[in-house]
Amino acid sequence: MKKLLFFLLLAPLLLASDIKTEQKIYTLIIHSLLPQKKEIKVWCDDKAKKELIDSIPKVRYILNPENADFLLLSKNQKIQTKGVKFVTNLKLLEAGKDSVVGGFFWQKGRPNILFLKKNLQKHHIKLPKSMQEYIEEDI
């Protein structure tokens, strides 16, 4: 009975739960990486993520990657910028392990966050304590 009601009433909400989880995680990641910025300019190569980025507080979606403070990459592309690069899958993280600071991706149905220690250091980023458990030496 409980399950039935759960399915009847919460099924539409569940469909949105992944998106909400992603939004929360990205909020946490972006603000942990760039805590000093009053407004964080974010560029993303996946236009589908525009809405998600816009929903994050103190974050502005921009069209020019060169001006971005934070770049969210879902494809392998060479962009010369001082901004912090972050990827959306493990393969990109492996491919860009020299420049990318980290990645957020789904693995075995579970959300996974990884930060690469040496790239964090390159950007002089010190993560808050709650995020430090996701730091990896290498990949």
Binding site: M1, F7, Q107, K108, G109, L114, E133, E136
Partner: protein
């Protein structure tokens, strides 16, 4: 009607119960299916995990991480073996170990979405650590993750130490398939419930409106008591034997309206109703019968046979002592009340109410602010043992209803001309009970009809045997009552040859509304040669119209006039004028209550034709 309502309620609740049961049963089916599927999958997962564990223990000696790292071929072989177990239901099967930092990393991965050896995986560390530390398998419900349903975790133990955890993830496809299969059925029930819910809301709303309208239709807006609409309904289903009936009327109410205005009258009515309501009990019923008349049904109590009388007295005293204050004017009122104590002895509730009304009339006639219960002339019956209907019925059955006969004399010749039959009950101990003790209790009942028949039979028997003229007493209401009238006609028809010896004495009637019926009935009776006498003329409201309207042969002057004829000039003059009037209409006059020689002399002097009374002869059972 009550049964129909019960049947409707039963059907309604049965439908609700059936739908609830089906709804519950459907959800139970889903739950049972889910549980059963869970059990099947868990058992299968346990079996898979056991096999993987055995394989690991078989090929690895002490440390899976070190040994698999050194032996990529073993790793590949084992991952291949695990991958065979992966299918749509068992989506991910893998083995993780816990590193020195407490993070979980891959040892083996048989899933299609393959991960590298030693690659990190974010898991719920609390629960995974529990498995690691307790060395016991765990089943996790993955409610927070969309694509997973259940995860089965089994520790892999080497040298009594947990070195890895086997994880088997079930995909959510199956429970979702079950859910989608049953969803239409659940939707149907859901909409049925909504429809029934709306229907119930509409029904409740309609019932509330209906009850409100019904209540307004049966409530008197001024006094907030029930009205005659309610009485009409009540009489259809009430068991009148459970009640005593009080009829109440506010004395001189017209004067209140005239002196203080109709608003004051309305105020008095409303306040009087409130006072009455306080004096009666919850299960008594107060009805505004009309105008200033109220009807109270008093629920009988086996412990108190005088309940209605006591309540009536209480009401009367309360209202009598209450000072009504309307616009700084103090108004006091009184009420008169009539009671029917035994409504069960009446043929219908309406007749029982009518009797209470007649008792009320008597209360008013006796001076108002009084309670009269069933017996009209209480002063005459105070010392008398009053008879119930059952007593009279028993007397009739046992042939103890008899007639006494009082002679009526010719005043000039002093010869007996005829007799007046007077009904009596002979008690079992031989004592005689007069009619005042029982006539009123049987009025309007079938027993009264039986008694009338008995008297007529007895009178005709005497006429036949003694060849004398005999008069019997009847009421105008008897002539109006078709049953009694038919009974009289039947008796006259049976004794056609003797009927000219019969005189019917009718009590003076105040207001004859159905005069044409009475005229018609009396003329029919007179066709048999029966003479008609008016009894007690001049006692109440002498209505001279009866000379014009009714075929009268004899006028019996009321005893109270004759009794005082020598002491009261008024009585003498009234009697004299009645005699003169009767002579004009060629009507025979009879003086009653002749109790002395001097009275006899006076009535002779006034040329009254006939006389009766104790001075001449007392009633006797024999002629």
């Amino acid at each position: 009607m009550k049964h129909i309502k019960k049947i409707y309620a039963f059907i309604f609740f049965s439908i609700i119960a059936a739908i609830l049961y089906l709804f519950y049963a459907t959800s139970q089916i889903q739950q049972t299916l889910n549980t059963n599927v869970e059990n099947i999958f868990i058992k299968e997962a346990q079996s898979f995990a056991k096999n993987i564990n055995e394989e690991m223990l078989k090929h690895i000696q002490h440390n899976p991480y070190e040994e698999l790292k050194k032996n990529p071929q073993l790793q590949m072989n084992m991952e291949h073996a695990i991958s065979i177990l992966v299918n749509n239901s068992f989506k991910y099967i893998f083995v993780l170990y816990r590193d020195k930092n407490g993070n979980y990393r891959y040892l083996l991965d048989g899933s299609k979405e393959k991960s590298h050896f030693n690659q990190r995986l974010s898991v719920d560390k609390l629960l995974w650590n529990k498995v690691y530390d307790t060395q016991k398998p765990l089943i996790l419900n993955q409610q927070k993750l969309d694509s997973l349903w259940i995860t089965y975790l089994k520790p892999v133990i080497f040298d009594k130490q947990t070195k890895a955890i086997i994880a088997i993830d079930f995909s959510t496809e199956l429970p979702q398939n079950i859910y989608h299969a049953i969803k239409p059925l659940n939707k149907i029930f859901f909409y049925i419930f909504i429809a029934i819910g709306l229907l119930i809301l509409i029904l409740v709303y309609q019932s509330i409106i209906g009850m409100k309208v019904k209540r307004e239709s049966i409530t008197d807006p001024l006094t907030q008591t029930y009205n005659r609409n309610y009485l009409r309904d009540l009489l259809n289903h009430i068991d009148i034997t459970n009640y005593q009936i009080i009829m109440l009327d506010i004395d001189h109410f017209k004067q209140i309206n005239d002196n203080y205005g109709h608003k004051a009258g309305d105020y008095i009515l409303a306040m009087t109703a409130q006072l009455m309501q306080k004096e009666i009990r919850e299960n008594d019923i107060l009805i505004r019968f009309g105008g200033e008349e109220f009807l109270i049904f008093i629920k009988k109590s086996s412990a108190d046979t005088h309940l209605a009388y006591n309540i009536a007295q209480r009401v009367r005293k309360t209202i009598d002592s209450h000072l009504f204050n309307y616009e700084n004017k103090e108004i006091s009122i009184t009420v008169s009340l009539g009671i029917t104590c035994q409504p069960e002895h009446f043929k219908s509730a309406s007749l029982a109410i009518k009797n209470a009304d007649e008792m009320l009339y008597i209360a008013k006639r006796e001076g108002r602010n009084k309670v009269v219960a069933t017996i009209p002339n209480r002063s005459a019956t105070n010392e008398m043992q009053l008879k119930s209907i059952d007593d009279v019925k028993a007397a009739l059955d046992e042939e103890r209803v008899i007639c006494y006969f009082q002679p009526i004399y010719n005043t000039q010749t002093e010869e007996i001309l005829k007799y007046e039959a007077l009904v009596r009950i002979r008690e079992k101990d031989g004592s005689i009970t007069p009619p005042l003790a029982f006539l009123n209790s049987i009025m309007y009942t079938n027993i009264y009809n039986d008694l009338t028949k008995k008297v007529l039979e007895s009178v005709f028997k005497q006429i036949k045997e003694k060849k004398v003229v005999i008069s019997v007493n009847l009421n105008f209401s008897d002539i109006l009552n078709n049953k009694i009238f038919d009974l009289i006609i039947d008796e006259l028809e049976t004794h056609k040859d003797l009927s000219s010896w019969l005189i019917i004495e009718l009590l003076e009637y105040e207001l004859i509304e159905e005069i044409s019926i009475i005229q018609d009935h009396l003329l029919q009776i007179k066709e048999y040669g029966v003479k008609i006498a008016i009894d007690d003329f001049g006692s109440g409201y002498a209505n001279y119209n009866i000379f014009k309207q009714l075929p009268i042969d004899i006028l019996k002057i009321d005893g109270s006039l004759i009794r005082d004829i020598n002491t009261s000039e008024a009585s003498y003059k009234i009697t004299h004028s009645i005699v003169l009037l009767a002579k004009e209409f060629n009507i025979t006059t009879v003086a009653e209550f002749v109790h002395s020689q001097s009275v006899l002399e006076t009535i002779k002097e006034l040329h009254i034709d006939e006389a009766q009374g104790f001075h001449l002869a007392k009633p006797s059972p024999y002629i």
